[in-house]
């Protein structure tokens, strides 16, 4: 790759942008293969390699990078970030035509090269099609995208995160230059405040206000910390931003540092995101080479350094004070607030802690203005939000919608409805700290205040859709077991309370629940919610409280009727022998420790469910798969 040269002034930055834009324009075709974790696991590397081979075979030169114009026939080939439609990966995008190829396999490389690169036409079979067979050639035609508004993810999938110049071509770092050279720190804070941006990590605290608190504290040393711990199971928004457009995060942090008066920043990334860490390191190195990060940015007086700290596997470190403790090298245990990080944070210094998505929004706000940001979303929750849509929907993946989009639109218009065709039951929003929303909430706008009013929260943005084959009590139990495992153990309410709640939920799903368990469960839940030290504890009972509110009958069914309405909980199922498959060999009867199986050789055996202890030994032993749990 052509080495990145140092940029010594905002004017030079503008020059470089023009140069790169022109170089990209001069490139007849760019082939971008999705390089997000999901697609990488699903085969992107093989696809890229195959395309490279095919190009060689057809004597099509490939550019070393986007600015090397040595050969005018050379095309661009590289990894982009996650375009969000993970359901249909690996995704290959062809620019500038913007063809959107899905489920690409290495075998397709030949056709892509001959038909598209050389022939200039789309490969029809690689395009998405509607139910009536209408092909969607371009990405913007695809229904999944039509209802989205991409601000934060605008560059994901279109640029190569491994080359800073691609980002610069899309006005990257121009916001930073404007802020550093054209605005006072107070003006930056004012713009962000005016925009109404609220923390995208979950709490939704007004970002500008937080920056304002930190800015006014007198201290020679301050810090900017990015919370990239994204521990919510089912959430991968921050991951995709870091993998797909890490520079947006860096730029946002630098602007924040300038605004509050910090010269150093930390990105705390969970260790389970090795690809994100790698992309960030590359981005930091290139930004430092380009003079856009480090000492005397763009030749000006402001310096800012960013370090990466890897998490070591603790969900609780997503809580800001626990995160700070972890950076300091301690157990990730939260601290009481006050004092707030704005006054005393990392190493006791004033610190701003914000989420990845929050920072990624900042450059556009500075570039386009607060009013532009307010043109999306609602009055009190402006802007967009990236959600991770998973579960029983047709289209799973990352989506970005204006705040205030209704739940129904997300699930049905964008998500495409329930994959199994079964009835919609609920959506868990906000992961293990979140609440569930039901049919009754389909018209609810997804924004901070509306969700709060129904006892839910936006959280990190994980949306898990469930149909009626999912037992909601089991969902509550699952989330509680997660929270229990991740509780740091410092305060008695979370440590012991979640343990006891989990015990009760386990009793219920295994058929041993009693009616008084529900009131005890509620009592503990409220105490944990109101008395815990940190956000993890305070929100741990949310799944329990909201499922008890909306699905109390389902709990009672387990306890009183001895039935799991969704048909999921194994305790309420029985082992049965499938007559058609049973060969009458009697092996199962021999294995049964309580002699619950009887029958005659060569004819189907029978299990006496009143004796059966559900150990499963029979099912394990059967060589004909004739025993099932139903």
């Amino acid at each position: 790759m052509t080495p990145v040269e140092r940029i010594n002034s905002p004017a030079e930055l503008g020059d470089l942008k023009r140069k790169v834009v022109s170089a990209i324009r001069s490139c007849a075709t760019r082939v971008l293969v999705c390089g997000g974790t999901g697609c990488m696991a699903n085969g992107s590397p093989a696809v890229l390699a195959a395309i490279q081979e095919a190009l060689e075979k057809h004597d099509v030169p490939v550019r070393a990078d986007i600015v090397s114009e040595d050969d005018e026939k050379a095309i661009g080939l590289g990894y982009s970030g996650c375009p969000g439609y993970c359901q249909v990966g690996p995704i290959v995008r062809i620019l500038p035509a913007d063809y959107f190829y899905v489920r690409v396999k290495p075998e397709d490389a030949e056709d892509i090269v001959t038909e598209t690169v050389l022939g200039g036409k789309p490969v029809e079979r690689l395009l998405l099609a509607s139910e009536d067979g209408v092909k969607y050639a371009k990405r913007d035609d695809v229904p999944f995208y039509r209802n989205q508004v991409n601000v934060v993810l605008a560059d994901c999938g279109v640029i190569e995160p491994g080359d800073i110049r691609d980002y610069i071509a899309r006005d990257g770092y121009r916001a930073m230059a404007e802020a550093l050279f054209g605005l006072t720190p107070e003006a930056v804070v004012a713009e962000v405040t005016e925009s109404g941006l609220r923390g995208r990590g979950g709490a939704g605290f007004p970002t500008g206000k937080k920056w304002g608190f930190t800015q006014v504290v007198q201290s020679p040393k301050k810090y900017v910390v990015c919370n990239a711990d994204e521990g919510d199971p089912g959430a991968f928004m921050d991951e995709s931003i870091m993998e797909g457009n890490p520079h947006a995060l860096l730029e946002g942090m630098i602007i924040a540092g300038y605004a509050i008066g910090a010269d150093e920043g930390y990105i705390y990334v969970r260790a389970e995101y090795p690809l994100a860490i790698q992309r960030l390191r590359t981005a930091i190195a290139q930004a430092e080479q380009a003079g856009l990060l480090g000492d005397r940015i763009l030749g000006g007086p402001f310096s800012f350094h960013i370090h990466i700290k890897e998490g070591a596997g603790a969900f609780v470190c997503g809580e800001e004070t626990a995160l700070i403790s972890s950076i300091e090298g301690q157990r990730g245990m939260p601290r009481p607030k006050p004092p707030f990080p704005a006054n005393s944070g990392l190493w006791g210094k004033p610190t701003v802690v914000n989420n990845v998505e929050t920072f990624a929004n900042v450059p556009r706000i500075i570039l386009n203005g607060a009013e532009w940001f307010r043109s999306f979303g609602t009055e009190r929750s402006p802007g967009t939000k990236v959600f991770a849509l998973t579960g029983a929907v047709v289209n799973t993946g990352l989506i970005e919608v204006p705040m205030g989009t209704t739940l129904g639109d997300v699930v049905f218009k964008i998500g495409g409805g329930i994959r199994t065709g079964r009835p919609f039951k609920a959506v868990q929003i906000g992961g293990p700290s979140g609440a569930c929303l039901t049919r009754a909430h389909l018209d609810l706008p997804l924004d901070y205040d509306s969700l709060k009013s129904v006892g839910a929260m936006v959280g990190s943005g994980g949306l898990v859709v469930m149909d009626d084959s999912t037992c909601i009590v089991e969902v509550a139990r699952f989330f509680m077991s997660f929270t229990q495992k991740e509780s740091c153990g410092k305060c008695v309410l979370c440590r012991e309370g979640t343990k006891r709640m989990l015990q009760i939920l386990e009793k219920i799903v295994s058929g041993r629940g009693k009616v008084e368990d529900i009131s005890l469960l509620e009592e503990v839940a409220l105490a944990v919610r109101d008395g815990s030290l940190c956000g993890l504890g305070k929100s741990a009972p949310n799944p329990v409280i909201s499922t008890l509110t909306h699905f109390r009958d389902e709990y009672l069914a387990h306890i009183v009727d001895g039935v799991c309405p969704a048909g999921e909980c194994e305790a309420f199922k029985n082992y049965t022998i499938i007559d058609e498959k049973c060969k009458g060999c009697g092996l199962c009867a021999g294995k049964c420790p309580v002699n619950a199986i009887s029958g005659r050789p060569k004819s189907p055996y029978v299990i006496d469910t009143s004796v059966c202890i559900k150990c499963g030994a029979c099912a394990d032993a059967c060589k004909f798969e004739a025993i099932a749990l139903a």
Binding site: K337, C488, V492, L493, R500, L520, A527, G531, L533
Partner: protein, 680 residues
């Protein structure tokens, strides 16, 4: 401009309090807490101190700074509900029977469960029982009773600067534990017992020797002698509502006799003896200008601390035993010589404010043919237990006096119980040789953790440091190592405020209790007719009939000792020669990886050979040690108190001739100093 908050409807001034909890308590509302301790950092975990603040919801009061205008309610329904639930959850995890627990009637969990009206525990007790650690002589650790308040963790780390205990694991599996789940005796615990002092439940308690002592008392073949430490009388006064340490001591003597002790003596006597020996040693060192600053050595936790963390300063420790041990050695000798009681029929008990003294009594060097000089150590708490068991109402007893000769003391011996006392006792004696001598050195008094003073005696100006709390000791020692501090004599007591705050003292053992006890001791001192240890007639008799002179060889044999470096985490001491310090030069070679790779093992072997050849093996104490942390300069060898780098095998000859041999030779000429000046 005074600021006010409203507490339960009552306007209350903030009065400079740092947190809401103190404001609320000062206003007369006793908020419950487990994890709050005014001397430790705020932890905020127990959630008992929560209150409702208008506009802010439920907040912990220990960590919230008061702001003028706040409206607080301390016992709303949700707050009470949460407190009860927190207690219920703690009780559900709490193993064991209150009735048989060491902390019965003194446990905060028990107290709060009762006070806050917890009437039922609806959760199952956990099935498994965690192992109890009672393998060390001083402290019993029962994790089944731990409520994870973290007070012990913070006390050991912040005030004692060691950090033996920490939280381990995560979530409901969190435990408070030493490193790697080991027992306290296998890690760097110095047994100061401050952790037990702050533990609200029975998770950390003092190891009881009450039964052993009763057995000895009931054994007709045994003559049971008891010595009572100075700090004990002050605590007894508080515990029984008796005015003044002297009164309390008098009643305690009566109680002890009624319980069956054959002789009752005062540790303050041997404190006087320690003063004489130590002051003599000190003046000797000052004259020679070597092994300074001198450290006091009567605190066993402090001694273990030095052995573990600052073994390069072992030779700075006074070689004097502690008063407890001097008493044991001396009294057993005396009883044998003067009353014909054989050693095996003697049973010496000491009553101490301290838990580390139990460890000290068991040190192998404090035995004669396997028989320990001090047979059992009772903490003040245990003494109170015994008094209760015997049904004695101490406050109603008449006072009685101690036995002679060891019951006679000067005020200098009594003040050993307070931080600054040893230094002052030594100064009083050292100053007396100069004629016009002050009998008070107030600069070294008080509960502060670090006190410095300069005292001019004749032409000399002595710089003293008086330290209590081992974290403060660390600071000073680190400065010494870095060459940034200059003292002649340093007194260190492991417990803040001195022995009056020892781990064996009854609760409450907070700073205000210690302040009261300290004042009592200085009052006792003021009442005594004699204030200079050297004036104690029975001490003089001791020298004339037995010891000869201070620091004489008899004195050395009975009253002095040596020290050895210890691994912090258990393991063998890599002693290659089998002796103690004292009169030998310690030579230590680092065999950490870096030094090892540069040939340090060869260095060590060759030094030993050369010493043998030169006939100096008896004067040198060779040790192999791990890591002076000067890896770049390796191999590193320490001679006396200086570390030399770069001693590769080829440099051995010169190094031995120029540095090691002279040190060994001068050691055998013990400083015959201006001893006589002090004793008449």
């Amino acid at each position: 401009m005074e600021k006010y908050v409203t507490i339960d409807g009552v306007k209350t001034p903030i009065n400079g309090s740092n947190n809401l909890l103190e404001v609320i308590r000062a206003s007369g509302v006793e908020l419950p807490t487990f994890c709050y301790h005014s001397e430790l950092s705020v932890y905020g975990a127990c959630r008992m101190c929560i209150v409702e603040i208008e506009g802010r919801g439920i907040q912990p009061s220990c960590s919230t700074p008061p702001e003028g205008g706040m409206v607080i309610r301390t016992h709303t329904e949700p707050v009470m509900r949460i407190r009860r639930m927190a207690l219920e959850l703690l009780l559900a995890n709490h193993h064991g029977n209150c009735q048989t627990c060491e902390k019965n009637t003194r446990c905060r969990l028990q107290e709060l469960a009762h006070k806050l009206g917890v009437k039922t525990v609806r959760f199952e007790e956990p099935g498994s029982v965690l192992p109890i650690d009672d393998t060390n002589p001083s402290i019993v650790r029962d994790p089944n009773k731990c409520i994870l308040c973290g007070d012990c963790v913070r006390m050991c780390k912040e005030v004692q600067g060691i950090g033996v205990l920490d939280f381990v694991g995560r979530g409901s599996g969190v435990r408070v534990s030493p490193a790697f789940g080991k027992n306290l005796k296998d890690v760097e615990c110095v047994y100061c017992g401050q952790c037990a002092s702050v533990c609200p439940t029975g998770a950390l308690t003092i190891k009881s020797q009450v039964d052993e002592v009763w057995n000895a008392i009931n054994d007709p073949t045994r003559t049971v002698i008891v010595q009572v430490a100075p700090a004990v009388r002050a605590a007894i006064a508080q515990a029984y509502g008796v005015t003044g340490g002297e009164q309390a001591m008098g009643k305690t003597v009566t109680a002890l006799r009624r319980m069956g002790f054959d002789r009752v003596y005062d540790t303050s006597f041997t404190a006087d003896l320690t003063t004489v020996e130590e002051a003599t040693e000190f003046l000797g060192r000052v004259a020679e200008g070597k092994k300074l600053p001198q450290f006091t050595s009567c605190c066993p936790a402090w001694v273990k601390f030095v052995e573990q963390f600052y073994p390069d300063y072992l030779s700075n420790l006074s070689s004097c035993k502690s008063p407890q041990q001097m008493f044991g050695a001396l009294s057993k000798r005396y009883m044998a010589d003067h009353e014909g009681i054989a050693r095996e029929n003697l049973y010496v008990v000491s009553v101490m404010p301290c838990t580390a003294k139990k460890f000290e009594a068991k040190r192998p060097e404090f035995t004669v043919d396997g028989d320990p000089d001090v047979n059992a150590v009772l903490s003040t708490q245990e003494l109170i237990n015994m008094i209760s068991e015997a049904g004695i109402r101490l406050a109603d007893l008449p006072a009685d006096s101690m036995d002679l000769p060891f019951g006679f003391k000067t005020g200098a011996g009594i003040i050993f119980g307070a931080s600054g006392g040893v230094a002052e006792a030594v100064l009083r004696m050292a100053a007396s040789g100069d004629g016009a001598s002050p009998s008070e050195f107030r600069a070294v008094r008080g509960l502060d953790g670090l006190k410095e003073a300069e005292v001019t005696l004749g032409e000399k100006t002595l710089r003293l440091a008086v330290i209590s709390g081992l974290a403060n000791a660390r600071q000073v020692l680190d400065k010494l190592r870095a060459g940034e501090a200059n003292y002649d004599i340093i007194e260190v007591m492991a417990c803040r405020g001195g022995c009056i705050g020892g781990g064996g003292q009854p609760m409450p053992n907070d700073m205000s209790a210690r302040e009261e006890r300290k004042n009592m001791l200085y009052d006792c001192d003021a009442i005594q007719p004699l204030h200079n240890a050297a004036d104690n007639p029975y001490i003089k008799e001791c020298y004339s009939t037995l010891l000869g002179k201070p620091n004489s060889s008899v004195a050395h044999q009975l009253l002095h000792t040596g020290y050895r470096s210890r691994k912090r985490i258990h393991g063998e001491d890599l002693d290659l020669t089998d002796t103690e310090t004292g009169e030998k030069v310690p030579v230590s070679v680092c065999i950490g990886t870096n030094c090892y790779l540069k040939g340090s093992y060869d260095t060590l072997r060759r030094l030993i050979d050369k010493a043998r050849d030169a006939g100096l093996a008896g004067n040198i104490d060779f040790k192999a040690t791990f890591c002076f942390e000067k890896c770049k300069a390796g191999p590193n060898v320490q001679v006396g108190e200086t570390v030399y780098g770069g001693i590769t095998p080829d440099k051995i000859d010169d190094f031995f001739n120029e540095t090691v041999a002279p040190a060994a030779r001068s050691r055998s000429k013990a400083a015959e100093s201006e001893v006589d000046k002090c004793l008449q």
